[in-house]
C-alpha cells in the first residue's frame, strides 16, 4: 500500500496545515458567490427591492388581501361566468388548432423521420423562437394583425401550443424504438405508411399527454390575454381593477383559481394514467 507516499498534489505540504477544501475549489466557490451576490445587488438597485422592503412588501400584500380583497363579492359571480366561458373556449380552440397543426410539423422536425436536414433545422429553429416569446406578446402581435377580440387570443394560443407540442413531440418521435420502422420499410411501406403504422402508435399517448399539458398552460394564459384585448375574463378583470372594485376583483381571482385547480387536477390524473 502506498501509505508512506507524500503524494498529495492538492494539499502540497503534508506536514503543514490541512484545510478542509482545496485552494482551487475555494477560489472557484468564492468567485461564484461574488458573481451571484454582485448580480443580486445590481438587481436590487435596479428594482428598488432590498430584502427589508421585500419583507415589508409581503406585510403590505397580506394586509391588502385581508382588508380589501376579503370578503369577495359572491353576487358578482353571475357576471363572471360568461367571460369565463369565453376564456375557456379560447383555451380549447387554441389547444385544438395548435395540437392539430403540431402533429404533422413534429414529424418534419424529427431527425429520424425527416431526411432533409434543412427542413429539420428550420422547424427546430421555429420551435425555439416561439418558446422565447411570452404568450402575452404573441397575443399583442395577433391583436395587431386581426384586431381586438377572441380570434387574436385563439391564434396566439395556437402558435404557443404548436411551440410546446412541436418541441416535446418531435423529441419523443426521435426517441422511439426504430425496430417497427425498419420492419415496415422492409416490407415495402412508404414514408406515410411508416408514420401511420410504426411511429404514430408509439407516440400517441405522449401526444395526448402533451396536448393536455398545453391545455393547462393555455387556460392560465388565456386568463391574462384579456389584458391586451384578446378576449375573455381578463377584460372584466382589468375593468374592475381600474374602478378599484376589489371585492369583485377577488371574486374573479377566486373563480380563476378554482377553475385552474380543477382543470389541472383532471388533466394531471389523465396524464398519469397515460404514462
Amino acid at each position: 500500500m502506498s501509505s508512506n507516499k507524500s503524494a498529495n498534489e492538492n494539499n502540497g505540504k503534508r506536514s503543514g496545515r490541512i484545510s478542509l477544501t482545496s485552494t482551487v475549489l475555494k477560489v472557484k466557490m468564492l468567485l461564484i458567490i461574488a458573481v451571484v451576490v454582485t448580480l443580486y445587488i445590481l438587481a436590487v438597485i435596479a428594482t428598488d427591492s432590498n430584502p427589508i422592503r421585500v419583507i415589508e412588501g409581503f406585510e403590505h400584500i397580506w394586509n391588502f388581501v385581508k382588508d380589501d380583497l376579503f370578503p369577495p363579492n359572491l353576487d358578482y359571480f353571475t357576471r363572471v361566468w360568461e367571460p369565463l366561458l369565453e376564456t375557456w373556449n379560447i383555451a380549447i380552440f387554441g389547444t385544438t388548432f395548435g395540437a392539430l397543426l403540431a402533429l404533422p410539423v413534429s414529424f418534419l422536425a424529427a431527425g429520424n423521420i425527416t431526411t432533409n436536414k434543412y427542413l429539420y433545422r428550420i422547424f427546430r429553429f421555429i420551435f425555439n423562437i416561439i418558446r422565447t416569446v411570452p404568450e402575452v406578446i404573441l397575443a399583442v402581435l395577433f391583436v395587431a394583425l386581426v384586431g381586438i377580440g377572441d380570434v387574436s387570443g385563439i391564434l396566439a394560443l395556437t402558435v404557443l401550443t404548436v411551440g410546446i407540442i412541436g418541441k416535446l413531440l418531435s423529441e419523443s418521435i426521435e426517441s422511439i424504438d426504430p425496430g417497427p420502422i425498419e420492419a415496415i420499410q422492409a416490407s415495402g411501406g412508404n414514408k406515410l405508411q411508416v408514420i401511420r403504422y410504426a411511429v404514430l402508435p408509439q407516440v400517441l399517448p405522449q401526444y395526448v399527454s402533451y396536448t393536455l399539458y398545453s391545455l393547462e398552460i393555455n387556460v392560465k394564459a388565456s386568463v391574462i390575454l384579456g389584458f391586451v384585448g384578446a378576449g375573455g375574463i381578463g377584460i372584466i378583470l382589468r375593468q374592475q381593477l381600474a374602478m378599484f372594485n376589489y371585492d369583485r376583483v377577488a371574486t374573479i381571482i377566486l373563480t380563476i383559481f378554482i377553475v385552474v385547480t380543477i382543470i389541472d387536477f383532471i388533466s394531471n390524473r389523465v396524464r398519469e394514467r397515460l404514462e
Binding site: S2, S3, N8, R14, R17, I18, T21
Partner: protein, 268 residues
C-alpha cells in the same frame, strides 16, 4: 465492555429479531458474527448503537445500560461506537476528506460543523487515517470518483476519525469482489488491532470469518447457537449455525487472485 443480558427484540410487525441473547465481549476483541440472512446478525449489531431498540433485557456498553437512553445520551453513545455499512453510506458528491470529517460530527458543535470550522487537530487526524487506509492522495477528490474498495476505505477512515471504542461493521465487504474484500478486511483488522478497538463484524462467508476472527458468534433464527474462539470451531459448528450442510455459496473463495491494483497508484 459490551454485555447482552437476556436481550430480546420483537419488531413492530411481530417478527422476533433476537431471542434472549446473553453475550459478553471484552475490550480489544475482534468478533465475527455469522449466520444466514435473517438470522439476526444485523439486529444484534444495530442494538449496540441503538439503531434498533431492544424490547426487553439489558444491554451494557461501557458499564452503562443503553436500552433507555434519551436523545442526547444516545448521541453520546453513538459517538463512542462507530459503524461501517455494507453500502459504505458516504455522500458521493462530497470530497473524500469531508466525508471522513463527518465522523467528527458527534464531537463537534452544531454551529462549528455548519461553518466547517473543524479544529486543525481533527483535520490532521482525518488525513492520518486516510493515510492508514492508503487513500490520502485522494483527499480532495469527489468520493464518487473512487472505486468500491476505496469508498469502503473512506468509511473505515471516517469511523477511525470518530475515535470510537467500539467498531460495528455490518456486512462491510458484501458489495465488493473477493480480492478487494480481503484487502478491506485486512485493513480493518490491522487498524482495529493497532488502536486496540473492540470490533464486531457481520460476515456472510464462513472462510472469511475463519480467516479474520478472534472469536466467532453464530446466530440462527435470532438465537445464539455458537460462541467461542476459532480454535473451537469445527466443520460441524457451521452446520449447526446454518442448520444445513455447507454449500459453495457460503464460501467467498481463496485470497489467491491477484490483488486489486489501482491504476493511478501504478502510474505514479
Amino acid at each position: 465492555m459490551i454485555e447482552f443480558k437476556d436481550v430480546s427484540l420483537v419488531y413492530p410487525n411481530g417478527f422476533k429479531g433476537l431471542k434472549n441473547i446473553n453475550l459478553k465481549i471484552e475490550k480489544g476483541e475482534f468478533v465475527v458474527i455469522v449466520g444466514m440472512s435473517g438470522a439476526g446478525k444485523s439486529t444484534l449489531i444495530r442494538s449496540i448503537n441503538r439503531m434498533v431498540q431492544p424490547t426487553s433485557g439489558q444491554l451494557i456498553v461501557n458499564g452503562r445500560d443503553i436500552t433507555n437512553l434519551k436523545d442526547r445520551q444516545l448521541r453520546g453513545l453513538r459517538t463512542n461506537v462507530g459503524m461501517i455499512f455494507q453500502s459504505y453510506n458516504i455522500v458521493k458528491r462530497m470530497s473524500v476528506l469531508r466525508n471522513v470529517l463527518a465522523g467528527r460530527l458527534g464531537h463537534t458543535g452544531t454551529l462549528r460543523s455548519i461553518l466547517g470550522w473543524f479544529p486543525q487537530s481533527d483535520l490532521q487526524l482525518a488525513m492520518r487515517n486516510l493515510e492508514r487506509v492508503g487513500i490520502d492522495s485522494k483527499a480532495y477528490q469527489r468520493a464518487s470518483n473512487l472505486s468500491g474498495g476505496q469508498q469502503q476505505r473512506i468509511s473505515i477512515a471516517r469511523v477511525l476519525t470518530q475515535e470510537p471504542a467500539v467498531i460495528l461493521a455490518d456486512e462491510p465487504v458484501a458489495s465488493l469482489d473477493p480480492p478487494t474484500s480481503h484487502k478491506v478486511m485486512k485493513d480493518l483488522k490491522k487498524v482495529s488491532k493497532e488502536d486496540g478497538l473492540t470490533t464486531i463484524v457481520n460476515l456472510h462467508f464462513i472462510d472469511m470469518a475463519m480467516e479474520y476472527a478472534d472469536r466467532i458468534i453464530g446466530l440462527r433464527d435470532g438465537e445464539l447457537v455458537f460462541d467461542g474462539p476459532i480454535s473451537e470451531v469445527t466443520p460441524e459448528t457451521f452446520v449447526e449455525i446454518y442448520g444445513r450442510p455447507i454449500k459453495e455459496d457460503d464460501l467467498l473463495g481463496k485470497d489467491d487472485e491477484p490483488e486489486e491494483v489501482d491504476l493511478e497508484d501504478v502510474v505514479k
